[in-house]
Amino acid sequence: MKIEEALAHCDIPCKIYDPIVIQIAALTVVRIIDIIEEKKLDSSKSEDCAELARLTLEKENQARIVKDETRIIWGDYFKDPQIEAFPDVHSLVHSIMLQSSKCKQSLSRENAEKLVSLVNEFSEIFWKTKEVETSRVTAPYPPALEMVVPNLS
């Protein structure tokens, strides 16, 4: 009797997903807001204006990275098994989208800290889907906020 093989297929084109990119971008948003606050830039001076424009542009860019990279992990990595295990991921991702936009629109540190908090939640869910334990540690660089890291051996 000929017995055929049934493929328990597990392959994707890339497979490399890691929310650390999102976390660093969210922390950078906070850091840029802090730098703008610390520098006490004078908008009547052209040099200060140029620096403020540059910092603001980079804040926009980092908030956009948070949105883009979150959408990629949510859209490409999360499939039925992950979504069934973590059904709240949709509303969490939507909250990250809205909070990133708030950070683009303002210089509120509170908004940026909230974004970091939401991204940490997303990172924890991501690693749980891979059955990897995580820890909450203080980032070893400014703004030294709490971040989620995988416990890799």
Binding site: A8, C10, K15, K79
Partner: protein
């Protein structure tokens, strides 16, 4: 009608291990959460669990959350089902 298949791959762990021999039947009712062997146009004969089932189509998923497969992202016709796994030998 009954068929026998040898499992290849780890996407169905812990339910099915690579090398397991399974028996399928197309004489039983197919429901959500059943493990089925079916034909996929790109990958050939595949074994997965049914995640949703409606109007002649189904979506499938892997049991092993550490894995991923494009097979799980598309709709499959019920006509492509060879049989439901009814026994692991």
């Amino acid at each position: 009608m009954f068929h026998y298949f040898k499992i290849k791959g780890n996407s169905m762990l812990p339910s099915l291990e690579s090398g397991d021999l399974v028996m399928t039947s197309n004489l039983v009712e197919i429901k959500r959460n059943d493990i089925v062997v079916f034909n996929d146009a790109s990958y050939g004969i595949v074994v997965k669990r049914i995640s949703s089932l409606e109007e002649g189509y189904l979506k499938v998923k892997s049991d092993n959350l550490k894995t991923d497969s494009p097979v799980c992202t598309k709709l499959h016709s019920k006509e492509n089902i060879i049989g439901k796994v009814i026994s692991v030998l």
